[in-house]
């Protein structure tokens, strides 16, 4: 198992390097001179030229890439073009907020989605199943930022139950987590339902029933565990999508996380911050996929790693 984990971590390296190349090349293709961005539009050409030299902007692209990626490896992620802040501490300080939001939204998505999906499959073609199927269609079709604004309108402005924005405690987390988790919940519900329907038609489930086991034992002990393997894949993918979705939801709720920070810095063309931010998102995405892979063995003992 530890060999497998080690190999998988090693496999992340070329992927992350590939991502770093894409991010670096795309950002450096962007029109506009970073030296001008730092000095402002009133800087003289000689001042711009001097700063370009200091920043190494006259070097070829591949030289700049290796310098940047070398800095990433050694912990020197560069400085902001806007406020000269160090990139790594600025990003690390915003990570907890994003992780809190993404994990809360996934707990809602995976928790409710799995339970509702199982119930929908168990009570197939009843009113409950129809309501769940309709609900999951609605969930995947609503823009998450619109759900967020509607929640603000209802729960913050009309009912005054929750704060509309910011991050000052658990109450602030409720609406952004629901807004971010709605579509994921719908997807997880659909996958859980379809996987459970497949599993509960299998012979060993029929055998378990024929042995006189309680229906609850059959469903939760014998059917749900194998079904969870497929559900886990979707949960992992959804966790990655939530990271991307955090850009919009954090903007709607003024949530001080990486997503909103990435958006604000993109608006300001703060390239070192953007590149670092995107690398962190990609790293988290890869890490989540790795954890999901490892969890397969936990939910399904047939999966063995070598």
């Amino acid at each position: 198992m530890s060999t497998y984990i080690g190999r998988r971590i090693l496999q992340l390296v070329p992927t992350l390097l590939g991502i770093s190349v894409i991010v670096f090349v795309l950002i450096n293709l962007t029109p506009g001179d970073p030296a001008v961005l730092m000095l402002g539009e009133f800087a003289t050409p000689s001042e711009v030229e001097r700063l370009r030299g200091l920043m190494g902007l006259d070097d070829p692209l591949h030289v700049r890439y290796f310098r940047w990626i070398g800095g990433i490896v050694t912990g020197d992620w560069g400085q902001s073009y806007q406020d000269r802040r160090l990139v790594l501490p600025a990003l690390v300080s915003r990570m907890p907020a994003t992780m809190e939001l993404v994990i809360a939204s996934m707990l809602i998505s995976a928790g409710i989605g799995t339970i509702v999906g199982v119930l929908s499959a168990v009570y197939q073609d009843t009113w409950l199943d129809n309501v769940v199927r309709a609900g999951s269609f609605l969930g995947i079709s609503m823009p998450n930022f619109w759900v967020g604004i509607m929640l603000i309108l209802l729960l913050a402005l009309h009912l005054r139950l929750l704060p509309a924005s910011g991050r000052n405690g658990l109450a602030n987390l409720v609406m952004p987590a629901i807004a971010l988790g709605t579509s994921g919940m719908a997807v997880i519900t659909r996958i859980t339902r379809s996987t459970m329907l497949e599993v509960i038609r299998m012979d060993y489930i029929r055998t378990a029933r024929a042995k006189g086991l309680y229906e609850r034992t059959v469903i939760y002990k014998h059917a749900l565990k194998p079904a969870l393997t497929s559900v886990l894949t979707v949960i992992g993918l959804q966790l990655g999508f939530r990271l991307g979705g955090s850009v919009i939801i954090e903007t709607v709720f003024a949530w001080p996380g990486l997503g909103r920070f990435a958006y604000l810095r993109m608006m300001q063309r703060d390239y070192p911050m953007i590149m670092g931010n995107l690398l962190i998102f990609a790293g988290l995405f890869c890490l989540v996929n790795l954890i999901v892979d490892l969890l397969y063995a936990v939910v399904d003992p047939r999966v063995r790693y070598s």
């Binding site: 992927t15 029109p31 079709s141 659909r190 850009v247 998102f281």
Partner: protein, 299 residues
């Protein structure tokens, strides 16, 4: 007609009876059985019509301002009310449908064309090319799609065409993966081997025997991609990275209406409902389409 032939060929490849109902007949039968899918198809059709005849739906312009009539609630004169600049919301939603459908269709089509081409070539020829393409695809897929889109738009600059490019790039990996996987299993089948032994060229085998037989999952994913594109375009418009004002676009309408959430919630509700109903309808139709074309994927 041509399409029905393709699917008959697929059946023929598996050695089944080819005299069954065509794809169109099966889809219509499905719509008759699934009333929800029938209603959704009508909605998709109505949104498309609304987009086409937008200038004739109301007497108002989507951009002309009337500050004396700003933030009006729905009335006989303005069915869905007016916005913060006195513009008719129904008119802007109708024009917004044009933009959203165009972005949705072009983004998904671009992704489909590039992705299927790459995936088919990669799966068919294999070797170094396949390895290289798949590694690039792996890298692209290990990056949240919306972030990739935001990155591309921030590099190219906001605007409709750049948004379409971003969506195209976003969808390429999935289309490539789907088509490559199907090509890998198809190219080993007897009918492809027979075509090869009869002297058919690689390009002929790829287009006539392989490509046409992998269209079912592609069409299904294409439908879902249109819905995703519309949602993403709205999200990008909301962030100010998509279509630019004063063009009427649903995401921009929501973004601009946010400041008036307390006093005029219809500014948010109406365009949001337009996105929701359109995407819901496309998803329901896509679901019915999948049940006909690719029942293995049924959820």
């Amino acid at each position: 007609m041509e399409q029905s032939g393709d699917f008959q060929m697929q059946d023929g490849a598996a050695g089944l009876d080819t005299s069954g109902p065509t794809f169109g007949e099966r889809f219509l039968r499905r719509l008759r059985k699934n009333r929800l899918a029938g209603i959704a198809s009508v909605f998709v059709f109505l949104v498309a019509i609304m987009a086409i005849v937008a200038p004739f739906i109301t007497p108002y312009s989507p951009t002309d301002q009337n500050l004396l009539r700003r933030l009006e609630p729905p009335s006989d004169e303005h069915w869905l009310g007016t916005d913060q600049l006195g513009r008719d919301i129904l008119t802007r939603i109708a024009y917004g449908a044009r933009v959203s459908l165009m972005i949705g269709l072009l983004g998904a089509t671009g992704g489909m064309l590039c992705g299927v081409t790459l995936g088919t070539l990669s799966g068919f020829f294999g070797g170094t090319f396949d390895h290289l393409v798949m590694r690039v695809i792996d890298v692209m897929m290990s990056f949240p799609g919306i972030l990739l889109a935001i990155l591309i738009v921030s590099v190219l600059g906001p605007g409709t065409s750049n948004l379409i490019v971003a969506l195209t790039i976003w969808f390429i990996p999935t289309f490539a993966r789907i088509s490559r996987g199907n090509v890998l299993s198809l190219k080993e089948m007897d009918f492809v081997e027979s075509a090869r032994s009869l002297g058919a060229s690689n390009s002929r085998i790829m287009v006539q025997h392989v490509l046409l037989n992998i269209m079912s999952p592609i069409i299904v994913y294409m439908t879902l991609s249109v819905a995703t594109s519309i949602l993403t375009a709205a999200g990008m418009g909301f962030l100010g990275l998509g279509v630019q004002p004063p063009t009427a676009e649903w995401g921009i309408m929501i973004s601009q209406g946010r400041q008036y959430l307390r006093d005029a919630p219809h500014l948010i509700m109406m365009p949001g409902a337009a996105i929701f109903i359109t995407v819901l309808s496309i998803n329901v139709v896509g679901d019915a389409l999948r049940d006909v074309l690719d029942p293995k994927l049924k959820t």
